[in-house]
């Protein structure tokens, strides 16, 4: 009863604001239906990945499974969480780049168990409880416009980045972009993991705040603003997006910071309310076997899971699935973190 009331309230508010779809209160960005050649069943997917990026995978899956109609809906990771956690929205598969939110969904009992030959072949660190399955490994990188760094050495570590920004306030003022952790689930994940990994995170935030940093919801916007010259650099951008977007554009460069590179996994879960968990399972099998379709990794820019230990001395710092991810989702912890972050970035 209470849930229904809240839901109708949400729907009402969003309708008043002229936002959202008719059926759900959460914010839908894009939606596209893919009809199978001889469809008998349907699979609805809620995802944080843009249609432009993900379409080749959907089409390849549908070629292999022509009996399945696919309804692909995209939204931000926080909205995706809200849709499943609060509104019990009807989807068969949830794909998100926010590993922490996916883990919380599974931990709090919103995910179904699934196991198959394909998922069992995944390395242990790429799945959790047979409910959360990782299928990509994507680094967080910095994207710079080479023109803005003319005459300066390109920073290789966060420490160097802080120094460069401090020494050239006139050049970088208003031209540094990063995620708004209040609205972007992925941005929050990257920021919290950064705060765990390095002491320089808070100083960097402070410096970016002093330079009047521009805040974004998504990687795409940041990259195009760097390309247009509005930004000199974008910090903590998804490497996979960056690589596919700067292709063929001069003057843009991806800079992995050498002190460490956070690596995120894109994960999939089957929510408890799924109508067609079998088809969702087949889609998961297809996703975790992305390594067998190098042409798809090529066209989407999504690197598949590679089951091999990272080389010694590597700067790659993969984010581990597990209950540790719940810590930064704690309401108090989040409140404190966001408060500190906001007071640093908005000066």
């Amino acid at each position: 009863m209470r849930n229904a009331n809240i839901r109708s309230l949400f729907v009402g508010i969003l309708l008043l604001l002229g936002l959202g779809s008719i059926s759900y209160a959460f914010e839908i960005e894009e939606q596209k239906r893919y009809s199978g050649a001889n469809a008998q069943q349907s699979l609805s997917i809620l995802s944080t990945a843009d249609i432009a990026v993900f379409e080749p995978i959907i089409l390849a899956f549908q070629r292999a499974n022509p009996t399945i109609n696919i309804n692909y809906v995209t939204s931000g990771s926080t909205e995706v969480m809200k849709a499943i956690y609060k509104e019990q929205a009807q989807f068969d598969l949830v794909i998100s780049s926010a590993m922490d939110l996916q883990t919380k969904l599974a931990n709090d009992g919103f995910a179904l168990d699934y196991s198959s030959e394909a998922t069992n072949a995944l390395p242990d660190w790429a799945r959790w409880r047979n409910q959360v399955f990782g299928f990509t490994q994507e680094p967080a990188v910095m994207v710079i416009s080479e023109a803005s760094f003319e005459g300066l050495e390109v920073p290789r570590t966060r420490q160097e980045l802080i120094e460069t920004l401090r020494e050239n306030p006139e050049r970088f003022s208003g031209r540094v972009g990063t995620y708004d952790v209040r609205t972007s689930g992925l941005g929050y994940l990257f920021a919290t993991q950064d705060s765990r990994n390095t002491e320089s995170f808070w100083r960097l935030t402070e410096v970016m705040g002093r330079l009047d940093a521009q805040l974004y919801c998504c990687s795409g916007g940041m990259i195009s603003d760097v390309a247009s010259g509005k930004l000199a650099l974008a910090y903590n951008v998804l490497g996979s997006y960056a690589a596919s977007q700067i292709e063929g554009r001069d003057g843009l460069r991806i800079v992995p910071l050498d002190d460490f590179v956070g690596v995120m996994m894109r994960t999939a879960i089957i929510p408890v309310g799924a109508n067609n968990p079998d088809a969702a399972g087949r889609f998961i099998d297809f996703l975790v076997r992305l390594g067998q379709h190098p042409e798809l990794s090529e066209s989407t820019g999504l690197p598949s899971i590679v089951d091999q230990p990272l080389p010694a001395g590597t700067v790659m710092r993969p984010i581990r699935l597990g209950p540790g991810l719940l810590v930064f989702l704690d309401q108090l912890r989040r409140e404190t973190f966001v408060r500190s972050w906001a007071s640093s970035i908005e000066q």
Binding site: P323, G324, V327, L332
Partner: protein, 462 residues
Amino acid sequence: MIRFLVTSSIRRRLVFQLSIMAALLSIVFFVAVRSVAEQAAADTQDNILAASATSIADALYSERGQVRVELPYSALSMLGTISEDRVFYRIVADGETVTGYDDLAVPKADQGQRAALFVTEQYRGEEVRVVSIARAVSNGVRAADVRIVIAQTRRGLAQISSQITTNAMAVAIGFFLMATALSLLAAQSAVAPVKKLAESVTRRGPKDLRPVISKTPGELVPLVDALNNFMMRLRASLTRSEEFIAEAAHRVRTPLATVRTQAEVVHRQMEKPENRKALREMIRAVDESSRSAGQLLDHAMVTFRTDQLEQDEINLATLADETCDRLQPTAELKDIEIVRTFSKEPATIFGDRILMQNAVRNILDNAIKYSPAESVITVRVENSSDQAVLSVIDQGRGFGDADLGKLTSRFSRGSNVDDIVGSGLGLTIADEVMQAHGGQLHIEPNKEGVGACVMLIFDRSL
């Protein structure tokens, strides 16, 4: 069951009992290992939960009169190190939720209890292990009673438990099989001396009453002693009765000889034919009695001497010749002619001379006794490379269709001899002598007409 235990073999009993013991021990082992290991696994989970709760307690602080906490990353990540279990937590200050899952119940604790409290309960459809610790956090005015509750599902524990059960089961079964195999071996070796003893006693000849001297384990010594004791008594008793018979025969024979001499003297002096006839009957009866007594003596002697057989070199032809000479007078009484056919080369055997004389005399005596008057008895000695044979062939009534094997047993006589007095010991004596010498007594019908052929056959190969 008890009946089965009493009558079944010692080996089977041992194996059965040892197997049951092994099975019991295996079960005890299985239960012990499983409960210890499961306790250890459960304790591990409790310890990690307690460590997690303590690390959260250390991160409690007070801000503007409010209890707050900065959840340490390790507090929850440590719970994910062993298993992939769901984790829930709740921090309550003075009954108000500070953060965490609102609906997670706070276990009731006694006032002032500071130690970690563990309970197992249901939460969100799964069994969870819950730890609760209490802390007092001062908010400037007074100390707030803060409870930290952490719950973790027990899927990992169940997995560990089933793995332990499988392993413990496998080890217990292996242990049982090994113990059973070893108990088979143990039982085998335990009964081996009994088997050995039984074999050594079974292997003995029918007359072998020597004590058992083979080495036996302590438990069997009383049995062996008892057996030896028994055999000694048996031997003494046999010896005594043989001695008694010999003594009795001897005592009877001597006066009989006197009676016979006296009877013959009287016979010569008798005039009346009916008196003479009666006396002749008497003499004949005395003769038979004396002969039977002689045979009893012979038999006793054979029994004695076979125990310690002498190995003389004997020429069969010479022996046969001497025996024929001795019995010539008896044969002549019935007008029986004894034909001696001896091989040219000497038929030499090794054996006890006195026993051999006895055997040959008894056979020839039998032949004379059962032959009709004015018949021929042939005594033949043949010698070949592998056998020496002494045969006595008569023209008597033969042995009819009697069982030849049975004729040689003591006091057994043919079915066609009712009119002739006899002891039934003659062939027995001959047979026993032959057995003691490793030869054999062979009886067959006379091939050249009526009568029987009794042969003493010595195999040289033996």
